[in-house]
Every structure is written in C-alpha cells, then in structure tokens.
C-alpha cells in the first residue's frame, strides 16, 4: 500500500453487494464508478473483486500492474488487509482489493467472508463487493456479508428475468435491494423498441436507485483505465455520481431520466425515412 495508513472510521462501515445474476450487464463498471464517486464524496472506500479466477475490476480501474496480494491472501491471513488493498493514485480514499486469478470460487466460503468484512468495516465507510455472475458459490460469498444490495440490469428480457431471480434470492436473505437500470438508449425507448425504466420497475417492483444511459465513454474509460466519473462529458459517469450521492444519504436527489439528444429536425427526418 503506497503512501500512509488507512484512516480509522468512527462508525462501522457499510457492506454493499453489487449484483445482477446475468453477466455482462455492467456490474464491474458500476462498482468501479460508484466506488470512485463515493471516494470523491470524501468517504473511505474499498471495492472488492469477488470474481475469483476471472478478475477484472483491477483492469477497469487501471490498477492491474500493482497487484501483490489479493483477497484470498487477506481472507486466509497470509497478508494484512492493508497489504491487499491497493490505493488508487487518481482518487483519494479509494482502495481496490483484487480477486485472485489462480483459484476458484470454492476457495472462499460465506462464513469466512462475513468474518473478513467485519474487519473491513473498521477501516472503511463503504465496502462495495463486485459479485460474479451466476447464483452459485461466488454469489453466496458476496451476499453473505452484505448489509445492502444494488441490483443492476439492462432493459432486456434476459437481464430483467435474471434480476428478478436474484431479487428473490436477496429477499430470502432479508435484504431489500435497490435497482439500477443500465445501458438505456433513449431513442429506442422513445420509438417503443426498448423497455422503458418504468416497464422494468413495474415488472421487478423494487426501489429505483438510478438510471444510466448507454455511453461509449464507458468503453473509452475501460480502454484507458481512467475512472468514468472523472470524465465530465460522460453521461454514465455523471449518472453513477448521482447514484453514489443517493447511496450516501442524499435520498431526495431526483433520478434523472436519460433523454435523447437528437435535434427535432433529425428526428423528423428519421420518422419520414430520410437519414439513419
């Protein structure tokens, strides 16, 4: 861990799991972005990659070259939490605990995770667990220590169906999750070719935490490893910042609905079949 020691928090931190059931809907990007945004709010934040064997949170955050120890080492007591937590160079107070790449999910178990997170609570205000896809061991390990859950889905049948299943599993563990609808394409919603966030919320009937527009900046940010939330022109990055503020207690912050940015005449042109 470069530069100084972790500040001790007066109160115990919160453990939040970010999950979806289906893979590829944006869990890792959401975890990295919400974690970065909470740190920008001045909180001590740890983001934890729970995808043992298929780690990716490290590359998304641009910290892949700095891994020495990982979560398995820390849980097994082979290193201290401080040694496994990689300090982000760009954002103050943000730490990554990477997954191990050589083990599989069975190396950890829910009880060990509960114990490990109890230690993390003492050091951080927020601990975000980036849950792997699926509802097997990796999911169990990520959900067991969680106080709160954020379910992320895209406006597609397959993603919403899996989100529904995961929401059921979370309720069974007495966790009331909140929803992020990711990758909304406003133009398609307007045309009636994409489920609107209202449709998704109606089907899943859970509290909405935020809406994130489809944004090419996400790919650019992943390419470079520069945090999305630092890119002022990124609508997704700004959406994640508002989501983080809402998670951090600003309950009244309104949820912004992604709007199509096309000009009136371009839209008319599209309707009568000129242009794309």
């Amino acid at each position: 861990m470069a530069g100084g020691s972790l500040k001790r928090c007066a109160l115990e931190g919160k453990i939040i799991v970010i999950t979806s059931g289906k893979g590829g809907v944006g869990k890792t990007t959401a975890t990295a972005s919400i974690g970065a945004a909470l740190a920008l709010e001045g909180k001590q934040v740890a983001v934890v990659d729970m995808d043992i064997g298929l780690r990716n949170l490290d590359v998304v955050m641009g910290l892949e070259n700095r891994i020495v120890f990982n979560i398995v080492d820390a849980v097994k007591g082979k290193c201290k939490i401080k040694q496994a937590a990689i300090k982000d160079r760009r954002i103050e107070n943000l730490y990554l605990i990477p997954a191990s790449q050589s083990d599989n999910k069975d190396i950890l178990n829910p009880e060990a995770m509960v114990r490990f997170c109890k230690e993390l609570r003492k050091e951080f205000d927020y601990v975000l667990l980036d849950c792997p896809a699926g509802i097997e061991r990796g999911f169990e390990n990520s959900v067991a220590p969680a106080d709160e859950a954020v379910v992320i889905c895209t406006p597609e049948i397959s993603s919403v169906r899996d989100a529904d299943r995961v929401i059921g599993l979370l309720y069974a563990r007495s966790i009331t999750p909140k929803l992020i609808v990711n990758r909304i394409v406003p133009e398609m919603v307007e045309k009636g070719d994409m489920l609107s966030h209202e449709d998704v919320v109606e089907v899943l009937s859970i509290e909405l935490l935020g809406l994130v527009e489809m944004d090419s900046q996400v790919i650019i940010s992943t390419n470079t490893g520069v945090p999305l939330v630092l890119q002022k022109e990124s609508s997704a990055g700004q959406a994640f910042r508002r989501i983080a503020m809402r998670l951090n207690g600003q309950k009244n912050l309104p949820i912004e609905i992604p709007q199509s940015s096309k000009s009136f005449w371009k839209r008319v042109g599209q309707k009568i079949g000129i242009g794309k």
Binding site: S196, V203, Q270, K271, I272
Partner: protein, 87 residues
C-alpha cells in the same frame, strides 16, 4: 411497405410491448416451476392426508402439474377403494 412507412411516420413500434409481455409470462412460468424433490414430498403428504379419510391404492395415486397459458394446475388423481368410517 405502406404499413411500414406509416409506422415510421408515427414513429412507434411495439417490440418493447412484445418484450414486456414475454417477460411477464416468463417470470410467471419461472415461479411455477417446482423441483422434483418438492413434488416427491408433496406426493407423500397428500397420500398421508387422503389415507386418513379414504382407503386408497398408494401406488396408483398420480400427481402432476399441468400448465396452460398463464395458468398452472395441480392435478391429483387417485382411485378410492373405500371410505374410512369414524367409530
């Protein structure tokens, strides 16, 4: 052709409504799915309860879940050998 052009003019498509209906049905079906383990337990419990009132052939009792669009029914079929009379 004209139809498609008109649709473009109105600018509305209904593929999301198709998606929403399919999604709602899929979720209903998903929730109706019962594992074999549960069915075997249920089978045993039903045999026990019916046996309190009727003499039945335990081997021939049939239990299954019939699905039709949007609805699902539990069907129990058993021949009754005789009624048990309270003494």
């Amino acid at each position: 052709m004209l139809n498609g052009w008109l649709k473009k003019l109105v600018g509305k498509s209904d593929s999301k409504n198709v998606a929403k209906k399919r999604l709602q049905f899929a979720l209903i079906y998903d929730k109706l799915e019962v594992s074999d383990e549960v069915l075997i337990k249920l089978h045993q419990d039903i045999v026990d309860v019916i046996s309190r009132y009727f003499e039945i052939d335990k081997e021939t009792l049939k239990l299954d879940i019939r699905k039709s669009e949007g609805k699902s029914a539990l069907v129990v079929n058993t021949p009754i050998l005789s009624a048990k009379r309270p003494f």
